[in-house]
Each structure stands twice: as C-alpha cells, then as structure tokens.
C-alpha cells in the first residue's frame, strides 16, 4: 500500500508544471502556488481527472488559469511581471543582429508567451490551450501564430494547420 496514483502523478508532474509557469512569465512563488492549487483541484476530482487521456494536461490548463486569476487579483504582481518583461526586452534590443529564440521568448506579450509554452512545452492540443487562455480555438491559434512570427519560428505542425477553419 502506501503511495496512491495521485501521489505518483503529483511527484511526476509538480516540478514540470511549475517550471512551465515560470517560462510563461510567473515568478517562482506564484508558479508554486498556482501549481499547488491546480493539484489541489485535481485531488478533489481525482477519479475524473485520473481517467482523462492526459491528466497532466488538465493540471497545466487549471494552473495557467489560476496564475492568470492571481495576476488579475493582484495588480502589483502583474505589474512586476510586466516590468521584468520590459527590462529583458531592452537587453535583447541591444543584441543587434541575431537574437536567439530564448531571448525572443522573454519579449513576447504575456498571452502569447503563455500560449506557446502550453502548446510547445506542455505539448497541449490547441483546444486545451484555448481552454487555458479562456478563448476560442481560433483565437488561441491566432495568438500562437503571432508568437511564432515574433519568434521567427516556421510552423510545421500539422495539427495547427488543420485547426484553421
């Protein structure tokens, strides 16, 4: 006996989800809190979440929502996070010629950044990204397109092409 499926799931994904939130622009404390809250909700309805194709996908979506709620609730936090983004943008601006994707990611507007992290780090389908962003699939797709253009990444993902309707 001992460890439950939930505990194993938590152990396997807590770190990953929290890291994704940091890449999406969260500070470490908010990332930890939002991830913990998402897992708390997963625990409350574990049997439902457990039977999903991707329980981790559900947690990513809920954690990202929670993070955005926190930003909305706490204007001060949100301002800080945007301030950091702008500082990084200034730095990259001075690297005149060829910016790495890594530098460019830091200069993405928050929503574009969240969307690409969910799509390409968490590997979520577009529909889930749309859920996490609280928007229509078409809007999520457009947001990701804008982000990729900004990052100078060419789209070679068939799912993204199909989703255009």
């Amino acid at each position: 006996v001992g460890r439950s499926a939930f505990d194993e799931f938590y152990e396997a994904y807590f770190d990953r989800v929290a890291r994704a939130l940091v890449l999406a622009g969260a500070d470490r404390e908010s990332a930890w809190d939002a991830t913990q809250e998402a897992f708390a909700r997963a625990l409350r309805r574990w049997r439902t979440v457990h039977e999903m194709d991707r329980p981790d996908g559900w947690v990513y979506v809920v954690a990202m929502n929670e993070l955005r709620d926190r930003w909305r609730r706490d204007e001060r936090n949100r301002a800080t996070s945007q301030e950091e983004t702008e500082v990084v943008a200034d730095n990259t601006g001075s690297v005149a010629t060829r910016l790495s994707v890594r530098d460019l990611i830091a200069t993405l507007p928050p929503r574009q950044r969240q969307a690409v992290v969910l799509r390409y780090l968490a590997d979520l389908p577009l529909a889930d990204v749309a859920d996490a962003m609280g928007c229509a699939v078409g809007t999520a797709k457009a947001t990701i397109h804008q982000a990729l253009q900004h990052l100078r990444v060419e789209l070679d993902d068939p799912e993204d092409d199909h989703a255009h309707e």
């Binding site: 439950s4 499926a5 770190d15 574990w46 039977e51 390409y120 990444v153 060419e154």
Partner: protein
C-alpha cells in the same frame, strides 16, 4: 527554425530552472479539512465521494414502462447516483417489496462493508453505515425526489428490513454544485440561470449559506468542536441538481466544473459506499471512538 526546435528549446530552458519541490502532504491535509466541511452539508454525504467527483455512467432512471418479463428495478451500483435511502438487510422479500413499490425508481445491491473513515459521516449516514457493517443492503432512489420515501417504504417492508433515510430535508441529488465561499451574487445568479436553461437538468434546489449551516448543525450534532469552529460564513452556497432520465450525470457535472464561482461539483453513486477512498499515503485520521459502538 521550426516548431520542433522550439519544443527542444523550451525543454532546455525548463531544464535549466531550479527544481520545484512540492508538498503533497499539505494537499491531503487541506483536503481532509475541506472534506469534513463539505461532507457535512452535502446530501451526498458519503465519505469517499468528496475526494473527487466520481465518474458516473449514464444514469438510467427508469421511468418508462417496463416489460412485464423484467420487473426488477435493480441496476448496477454505479447507476444509482441519487441515494434517498439505504435498506438493510438484503433479502428476496425486500427485493420484491422494492420492485413493487411505486415510490422506488431503482435500487442497487450494497455489500456489507466496514468503512475505515466513518468518523466523517454525518448523523444521517452513520446508522445506515453501521447497519451495513454486518449485513448487505440496498441503495434506493426515490421515484419523486424529496418525497418521504423512508417512512412509506418502512411501512411496506414491516419487519423484513430497516429503512435509513440518507437525505436531509432538502432532498438527495445527482450532483451538488458547491460555490466558492464568498462567490458573488452575480456568479450565483448566473449559475442559477444556466441551470434553468440546461436541457439535461430536471430540477434543482438552491441551498443558501444559512440553509447549509442549518444542515451542518443537524448533521454534525454531537461534534461540538467542529460546530464551534465553523461559522455560517465558512460554508458555501450550493445547488442540488437532479438530472433528466437518460442524461449523463457525469456530463452535467462536468459542465459546471470550472464555471466562475464554482468550487467543486460532487457526484456519487452506490459504489462509493464500499470502494476505498484514494487516501494512500495520507496518515490515518486522529483516532476517535468507534461511532457504531456509541450508545
């Protein structure tokens, strides 16, 4: 650069971050506390239920005329999503009475079981769960929600079996939608409107914070420390929802999960009476006297 390289770049960036250490024990402790409060006021107050909205197969409340060759109203335990009463013990005579009673929509067999966590059960459930320790029984759904099934059924059964009412005075439900504590009136109103227009919802009942506190005090009478540490404002408002015959309780519940202002949606089925809670590494609750041996 292509998206596959972007994926690799993201993974590399994530790997470079300092690790996060989770605290799963905190989650379990917090959950137990919420669990006690939620269970206290839920008509669906089965200890195992609140650990997660159960996934329930389509509920086939059988209001259509049955063919005479198959008069039994017994269904699989997972299909009994609204438990109005528990009848103990199980016997052929009791089955016959349940099959013949117009008050009974359907019922399922429940094996005798000793639940380890009966301290969390409310007064309404305690005697039923204690009776189920030594004998098999049935979980029964009433034809008409909110009717006094137990008294009439007890008359029909006589001394063959005892009927335990498991619903409080607000009646059992297929799903209970709990609002966040402090949900705004606008959120509650929006949810109510949505329920009114939901074609799968047969009926629903709003449980105010005051109603919740009334239920809570009645269900946990005798647990003074719990009552004293809980104020009306600690309890959430909720909606008890009964779904239409043929509609999936899981689908209806899922529809309201995550709606603004909603904390959690609780569903149950008769299997929850004996399937173990996913408690795992959670330490056992503090030892308390066995509720079934109390005078």
């Amino acid at each position: 650069m292509h998206t596959n390289e972007l994926r690799r770049e993201f993974v590399a960036m994530a790997d470079e971050l300092e690790s996060f250490t989770g605290e799963v024990g905190t989650l379990h402790r917090k959950r137990r506390r919420q669990h006690v409060i939620t269970v206290a006021i839920a008509a669906v107050a089965i200890a195992g239920v609140a650990t997660g909205g159960a996934v329930i197969a389509a509920s086939q409340h059988d209001h259509v005329v049955r063919v005479s060759s198959a008069p039994s109203k017994e269904v699989a335990p997972s299909k009994v999503t609204r438990i109005d009463a528990i009848v103990v013990p199980a016997s052929e005579a009791v089955k016959l009475a349940l099959d013949q009673s117009k008050l009974v929509a359907e019922y399922a067999s429940v094996p005798h079981v000793r639940r380890p966590d009966s301290l969390l059960e409310t007064n309404a459930w305690r005697s039923a769960m204690c009776a189920l320790r030594s004998a098999d029984g049935y979980a029964v759904t009433a034809t008409t929600p909110g009717t006094n099934l137990a008294a009439d059924l007890q008359r029909a059964l006589g001394t063959d079996a005892k009927v335990y009412t498991t619903a409080d005075r607000f009646g059992a439900a297929d799903a209970e939608i709990f609002m966040n504590v402090g949900a705004t009136p606008a959120e509650t109103h929006a949810l109510s409107t949505r329920l009114e227009h939901d074609p799968d919802v047969r009926s629903f009942r709003y449980i105010s914070t005051d109603d919740a506190y009334t239920i809570f005090k009645a269900e946990f009478a005798g647990q003074q420390s719990l009552i004293q540490s809980t104020k009306p404002g600690d309890l959430p408002q909720s909606f008890r929802v009964i779904v239409n015959s043929g509609a999936s309780v899981a689908n209806v519940a899922g529809r309201y999960d995550g709606v603004p202002g909603v904390d959690t949606v609780i569903t149950q089925n008769a299997e929850d009476l004996w399937l173990p809670m996913p408690r795992a590494s959670t330490p056992a609750p503090d030892s308390v006297p066995d509720p079934c041996t109390k005078p």
